[in-house]
Every structure is written in C-alpha cells, then in structure tokens.
Symmetry: none
Subunit: 261 residues, 2 copies
DNA sequence: ATTTTTTTTGAATAAATTATTCTTTGGTGG
DNA sequence: CCACCAAAGAATAATTTATTCAAAAAAAAT
C-alpha cells in the first residue's frame, strides 16, 4: 500500500512533470508492469531521466525499485479480487457507519505509513522526557489539548499553550532531557519550525506528527510520525485528519500504558 | 502461483544447472526481489547467461519477466489465504495496527447500538440551540474539551468548564432554547444528574453520551447516545472508550457539516 | 519590474543490466 | 577413438538504467 499512498500524499509538493508521472501511475498502475523507464517517459510525455529522478525523489534506488514497489502496492491491495477497501460497518444507512467507513480508510493508510521504529522511539522519548512541550498549528489545537490531557493523566509533565508567544518562551526553558511535540496539519507554519529549531539548539528532542509529505516541521524533527489525509471535501477532510491524528496519539498512549506496568 | 509451480513440475526435465537455479529460487523466493541476473548467477554458482536461458526455457521473455512472475506467484500465495472476520489493518505487526483492530471492534459496536433518529435528533438539537453547555465526568473531560472546540469552530456557542461548581451556575442560566450535553463514562455521577435535572426544569434539552447501560444520566436525557465499552484491561478500555466517544462526536460534527452548506 | 538564485528539465553520456552469439566442455553412442 | 549433441560459459552486442551538465523555467530577492 505504501508506495501508491506515498504518491498520493506527496502529490501537492511535486513539480509539474512529477505530478504528471504520479497521476499516470495512479491511474494506470497495472500498465507499469511491463513498461521500461523510457516507455513510461514516452507515455507520460517527459524524459527518461525525469522518470528516474522521480523514482529517486520518492526514496527508491531507481526505476526498477519503484516499479517493484508499485507492483507490491498494487498486488497488496488488489489480489483478493476487487480493490474495495475493507468493508466494515455493515448497515450503510447510519451516518455514523458511513463516517466509520471513511475513517477506517484514513486510519488504515495512516497505520501503514508510520514506521514501527519511529513509533516505539516516540514512546521511549515520551517516557524518558522530563518535561514535554506540545505545540500545534491552529488546526490541531484540539488534538494537542487532548494529547496534553492524556499525558498529564499518565503522570507525564506535559504543557500545551496555544498562544504562539508563550510557546516560544517556554521552549527557551527546555533542557536536553526534554521533549517537544509538534502537531501540525500541513507543516508550513513558520512559528512552529522556529520553535523546533530553537529547541534543537538546546539539545531537546523533537517529535512531529504532521501531514504525510516533506514539510519543514517534519524535516526539523528527530522522530517523525505522519497522518495521511483523505481526498474528501475540505471540512470533512479536516475532521478525518484530526481523527487520524488522534489515532496515532492513542497508539502512543497505549504504548505508554503497555510498557508501564 | 503458476510460475513457482511450473518450476517444481519441470524440475525433473531440467539440466543440472537449471535444477540448481530452480531449487534456489524455490527455497529463497523472497531473495530474488533484489537480485540481478548476475547476482543470482553468483549465488547459485552458474553463469549469468545460464540464468537468462533458464528464464527463457520456462517461457519468459527474459530474466526480468521471470523475476516479476516469481514475485507475482509469491505475493499471490501469501494473500489469497484466509477469510477471517473483518480484518482491517492487514499484515503489519505495528502496534498502531493492533490498536486499530481493537478500535474497529469497539467502533462497530458503538455504531450499531446508536439509533439513527437519535443521532439526527442530536444534530438538529445542536443546530437549533442558542447556547450549548457541556458537562463531563472526570474521565471524559478531554473528550468534552474536544467537542467544545469543534463546536466553537463551527460557530456554535459552546461552553465547557471542568469545575463542578461553575457548571451548576451556568446551567442555571440556561433557557429553553439551549442544550446541555452530558458526556460520561459510567453515568453514576451525582452532580451530572443534578445538573441535568435542573436544566430540564428550565425546559432545556438534554443530550447524553454515556456508556451503554441504564444509567441515571441517560435516563434523564431527551436524546440518548451510547458507547459500547470493550472488555479489555482497564487502562486500554478507558482509551478505547474515549475513542468511541470521539467517534460519535465526529459523527455529530460531520452531520453538522453536511447539512450546513 | 528586473536581476539573482534556485529548481526543474532533458540531452548526452556513462554505467549497469540483460540477451545473444559462439566457442568450449563433457558426456554418449557408434 | 571419433563424431555428435546437449549444456555451459566467455565474450560481446543490445538494451535499459543512472548521472552529469547545460539550458530553461520558476521563485525569490532587490
């Protein structure tokens, strides 16, 4: 699943040609099977080198690697017959059930995109931290508060303050055995990147939970967790995004719980 | 499946080197993934050209074709296997995935227990309300805050205050076009029932989201939404409970969204 | 609005992989 | 012992993939 997902998630910050490639692959996944790099290039209307560079930008050694990954992705989703995304929530009538279905898809994607080692690293970092500062962009404030509350309940010394000014003050007083958590929908937020950088200068570990793409906040972090956004209408997308963030956070909490007793 | 099968079937009619190749591939199928023809040749101890010829003898255009076919074979066998009950979050042993599975079960139960009309009634009530007071028992404070935040974001005049005293004061100032939301894990809380009763005396509608059982808070409500708890170990159960509460709330929010535009 | 800087792109080319040819080897039957 | 044939590999041709570099386009800065 990961590879095709990655493409969809990155679509926004790809260049024109790269997006053309991504779209073509997403639309004609099965064709890729017997396309060489230059055949693909021709089909899409770009140069062969662009294909290779695209492959590398996505993190693969080269075109053959990408091809295999795409194939894996595709086979993983589709071999069972159709490529329906796991129907749970039997009665389609209830709005709760419809939402549940959408949510399930987003959660599945989010689960598959997060590396296990990053997750365990996050749990360890939280456990090891003296103080935890939580910073969030406006869209993730409610999630941040939820996180802060859960952490406090577990006995972690967690602080969340939404006012940007205070955040920066607090981050100045962090020490090297502290942790900074950044929650962010897109990751462009200047101020958050600032906070992260300042914190790192003090040797503070930085944990980020952002939309899945290369973004400033994520890049300046030690531990990176992601959420894969859906492609729904805006309001709903925001809702689902938070829901997925919450799921990751619940994962962290449950990790903290299980290794506690 | 076909390709690996073919190899096994042909094993007898193959020459020495070819058999060596077939055996190696059958034993180390997953290794093939990142072997080039000459790497495979080295690993088996034959020449690169033998590898190519072997591929062609089996009916493929060349080595890459064979490789892909083997891969298809391998992947196909792994996935076609089981027909368990609603297994989402496939394969991975990621903790996120395990949590996801548990969560899915709780959510399914929660979805199935809530009547659609209660849900739409809740959405209508929220939309119709002038002011919304949110009250919660200690265990649901974080969820309550989340709800308050989302409602405010939607332009609803929602108030949540965790201090019990203030709650009661506020509820005295509610009027008959207001709404009281009660979030509660068990529903025994004296104070919440009090607040609810006082509110109803003023003609205020009461919406409750509680654990699914007959409980005081639920009985004294006009609209009743429920969460079905899991039977896990205590901490995890609490986590999942909140998660299900959040799901219902997300359902409400999404209901508000959809009928808004 | 214009220059500078950066990013993106593709042509040319280098590197690598894969396929073919052709010679050598080793076994078999005459 | 020699001709014959299948099979294997070395050499090499063909194809595919990856890198370099210069030009073009977009973004940023002045």
């Amino acid at each position: 699943m990961t590879c095709l997902l990655k493409m969809r998630a990155m679509r926004d910050q790809l260049s024109v040609n790269e997006r053309k490639l991504a779209d073509f692959i997403l639309e004609n996944t099965q064709l890729l099977r017997d396309y060489s790099s230059s055949q693909l290039a021709d089909a899409v209307g770009v140069s062969q080198s662009s294909v290779v560079k695209f492959s590398q930008k996505l993190g693969y050694r080269g075109y053959p690697s990408l091809k295999l990954a795409v194939y894996e992705s595709y086979a993983g989703a589709g071999i069972g017959g159709g490529d329906e995304p796991v129907r749970a929530f039997a009665s389609t009538a209830s709005p709760l059930s419809q939402l549940g279905q959408k949510k399930l898809e987003v959660l599945e994607n989010t689960v598959s995109i997060n590396e296990v080692d990053q997750l365990t690293a996050a749990v360890e970092a939280i456990r090891a931290a003296r103080c935890i500062q939580i910073s969030a962009c406006p869209g993730s404030v409610s999630v941040a508060r939820y996180l802060a509350h859960q952490l406090l309940e577990l006995g972690c010394w967690a602080v969340f303050d939404e006012g940007g000014k205070l955040q920066q003050r607090i981050s100045n007083s962090l020490r090297d055995d502290d942790l900074l958590c950044i929650l962010c929908d897109f990751g462009g937020e200047e101020s958050l990147v600032d906070v992260a950088n300042r914190a790192r200068e003090h040797g503070v570990k930085v944990l980020s939970l952002t939309r899945y793409n290369y973004n400033a906040a994520s890049i300046h972090s030690d531990i990176r967790l992601y959420v894969v956004p859906s492609d729904d209408e805006e309001d709903l997308q925001r809702l689902l995004f938070r829901s997925a963030q919450l799921h990751v956070i619940e994962g962290l909490i449950s990790g903290l719980l299980s290794k506690k007793g």
